[in-house]
């Protein structure tokens, strides 16, 4: 699914990722944890193709193809999805228009015909329900005036509609209360399948009580410094990151 080898990346001339390795197979859920500033969000944006987040060394293969040969929109069309930590607000463009444009683009890439608006509306309403958002949110501007939790649920709704092969969730749990966290976790769990992989970037072990990962990695100073199973997350919860950072 995703194979990252010796990835180095810069943001504004500063090296953030310094030789990162990660293998994600189909159906696996990987959690990436780590202290502030370790490069977790950078990894998500480098993979999604954000301008200014530049890979300077290393190789990333996504579904067998060289990821860096693709533009951001091609990566998305090929099945890579990043749930943003801070989704932007786009007044004037309705959520519905945005979702339909995204779904049509992805369907088009898969060789599927565009959905007519009735069929799409039905899908979108179901997705709203699944993430516990009122249908009014479809008519509103994209993320416009949404609360933090509503923005995260809107990200999850996009994930559900776009059905990616690989979903990277960048701190989707931060700032959520327990109920919202449960909604997100239920959504992700319902999307788990042998063909779909997840990378959960998070600060806290809490999320992993709800979404059980196959692997847990610690990212510190731009590298994966320790990998293990879910018990590693519990250990981090007790001991913090200090003992690993000094080893990095």
């Amino acid at each position: 699914m995703l194979s990252i080898k010796d990835l180095h990346a810069e943001v504004q001339g500063k090296e953030i990722l310094k030789g990162l390795n990660l293998e994600v197979n189909p159906g696996e859920v990987h959690a990436i944890m780590g202290p502030n500033g370790s490069g977790k969000s950078t990894l998500g944006h480098v993979l999604a193709g954000r301008q200014g987040y530049e890979a300077t060394r290393g190789k990333v293969k996504f579904l067998g193809d060289n990821l860096f040969d693709m533009d951001a929109e091609e990566r998305a069309r090929n099945g890579l999805f990043l749930a943003f930590q801070y989704p932007v607000e786009i007044p004037g463009v309705s959520n519905m228009e945005f979702l339909k444009a995204a779904v049509d683009a992805v369907r088009d890439a898969r060789g599927e015909p565009a959905l007519d608006s009735v069929a799409f509306l039905k899908l979108a309403r179901e997705a709203c329900k699944a993430v516990n958002l009122d249908q009014n949110f479809l008519k509103r501007g994209v993320n416009e005036g949404f609360s933090g939790g509503e923005k995260k649920r809107n990200e999850l709704m996009q994930l559900m509609l776009l059905e990616p092969s690989l979903a990277i969730l960048d701190e989707t749990d931060s700032g959520l209360d327990i109920d919202a966290l449960q909604v997100i976790a239920d959504g992700v769990n319902s999307m788990r399948s042998p063909k779909r992989s997840f990378v959960l970037v998070t600060h806290y072990q809490r999320l992993l009580d709800y979404i059980e990962p196959d692997f847990v990695h610690v990212l510190a100073r731009g590298r994966i410094v320790k990998s293990g199973d879910k018990s590693l997350a519990l250990e981090l919860e007790k001991r913090g990151y200090g003992w690993l950072e000094s080893a990095a």
């Binding site: 951001a72 929109e73 932007v88 004037g92 683009a105």
Partner: protein
Amino acid sequence: MSDFVQQAVQLAPSAMPSWLTDHAKSSRDFWSKSTLPTRKTEAWKYTRLRPLETGNYLNAAKPATADASLIQPSLIDGLNVHRLVFIDGQFQQALSDSDMPEGAELVRFADANERQVDSINQHLGSLFDRENHLFSALNDAWLKDGLFLRFKKNTRVEQPVQVISLTTSQEQAFSIAQRLLVLVEEQAEATVIEHFASTNEEQNSFTNSVTELVLEADAKLHHYRLHLEEEQSIHIGGVHAGLGRSAQLNSFQIALGSKLKRLDVVINHQGEGAHCELNGVYLPQREQHVDFHTCIEHAVPNCTTNEVFRGIVSDSAQAVFNGRIHIHPGAQKTSAMLSNKNLLTSNKAEVDTKPELEIYADDVQCAHGATVAQIDEQLLYYFLSRGISRQEAEVMLSFGFINELLNQVHHQEIGDYLRPLLAKRFAADPKMTRHIT
């Protein structure tokens, strides 16, 4: 005297209702002594009048045939309007509605009765001075007819009045003087849509339009002014509004670009407690030019203004926005907000924006701001990360920038009418606009 000034004087009509003669003559005298603004004239610094001077105008177009298909594109779906149609400046009885909406009185100056003449005389030209509004004075000088819309005291007229002014292309250039006087009496409520359009891009008309909006105490007017004329048309227009005590004006204006478009909008708060919402959108492209000069005169206390203008300038087009708010001495407790945001979609596009606040009272709330920017890369990235192409993302973002204002118009049918029309401006390929229309 420049060629155009001389020509303009000769273009003045010889026949007009007798009660208009004095008014027209004094303006003609004034005009014949004036000089055209140059780039040194502050109010015309960024707008050249050269396109105007190159024309050799007839004072009337050939009589148009009242072809109903011509106005088809100007019909607003779902809105039951009372329609009045002018083609090339000439009133089209056959294409216009005759049943007056209840509570309204619609009459051409030439047909006005004595009472109506008194009322017209009382208000005509009362809201502007010729020195500062040279082209409104020219409209005076060219006066031979006009339209008087009166909404009677204490009535709420549900049916909007749509005045369509259509220009066609003709062999020889011609000029049009369009005059509209709207009187909304005490506690009356009305909707007026001024709709300027052209039949095609090949235009050689010069439209000089003046609209006067008189709102008496507690009157409420929804006003729309749609400038949808194409490429080669020239339009210099003025809207002058006077708001009485607790009157409320909601005005939405839109201008596509053309060879030369200059629009002055002046709102006079004359009675305490008056409120004005003024929103506008301009979208010049190719080599087009649009110039909006707005001026809000807060002459009395306790009035509020909320003004928002947004523009998208593409290709080598130029937009000018000058927004002045003038708070007179004693106009305490005024609240006035002005925002002007511009999006440039090309490196050759130009916008000259200048918000001006002039405040002579100390207990007021005022804010103004102007921005000029290109499409936000961060927003664009969000679209790309969802698989949407860069080109479609740019179209959707540009459209969204003005759609925010379209979403706020009181009559949603007008927003719905404008959306597909404007979407086409952002991309010729319907695939790029399919998600916004």
